[in-house]
Amino acid sequence: MFMRRVVGNSMAPVLKPGDIVFAKKIHHMHIYANSIVIANINGKEIIKRVGLVKNGKVFLIGDNKAASTDSRTFGLVPCNVVLGKVVFWVPNIVARFNSRLMKH
């Protein structure tokens, strides 16, 4: 189990910047579509949803399609770049509350 802090908006509205996610290391055979995973793409850890698993490769896509750099840009990635599956997360209530205040 490891935890990470979300930076960026590509998984909004589910995950927002500042949320803390907890991920479990999983075997490559246990990557399924629709789960949220953390992957290492060229040395940078990114968080995305699995769109498709095919022939040992995964298509990663952000929930917020308008603000995400994902497999639409970098293509299918091998399963072994997936570091873990997000099992639960703690929303950053302070930031969410503040952004609501800003809107009104």
């Binding site: 930076v7 908006n9 940078k44 639409r72 840009t73």
Partner: protein, 135 residues
């Protein structure tokens, strides 16, 4: 509050998110040509309305020539990758020629310059399509 000790994971927001097109740049280059034609059609500026239209057309030409440059820069910096440069060594020159010609279009009311801009944009479009279909 956890900034210091929890490693970040990126839900990255690199607008423009993999959506690239050349319609905007072609449309803008065409607009420049159209504006020059319309300015020439105005003839002598003998009424206040003609002055008004003249200024609007020059403004539009200026604006769209700038848009051509911006669109070319977006493709250049975000769409094209190093491997595309290896495959198409003329890439830098093609983009540069578009940007240069867009500036020439701004400088004068010159139909030839606009036609030249359209040609250079077409060359960039052609390269874009080749690279895109190769992906």
């Amino acid at each position: 509050m956890f900034k210091g000790f929890i490693k970040p994971v990126y839900a990255h927001c690199d607008v423009p998110c993999g959506i690239y097109e050349t319609d905007t740049i072609k449309h803008s280059a065409d607009t420049c040509l159209k504006m020059v034609q319309k300015i020439e059609d105005l003839g002598e500026l003998d009424s206040i309305n003609k002055y008004n239209n003249f200024v609007r057309m020059v403004n539009t030409k200026e604006e769209h020539a700038q848009k051509v440059k911006e669109q070319a820069y977006i493709l250049w910096s975000d769409f094209f990758k190093p491997e595309h440069l290896t495959a198409h060594p003329s890439l830098h020159d093609i983009v540069w020629q578009v940007a240069k010609q867009a500036s020439v279009v701004k400088h004068a009311v010159n139909k030839e310059a606009c036609l030249e801009l359209n040609e250079r944009v077409a060359a960039l479009d052609e390269l874009f399509k080749i690279v895109q279909s190769g992906n």
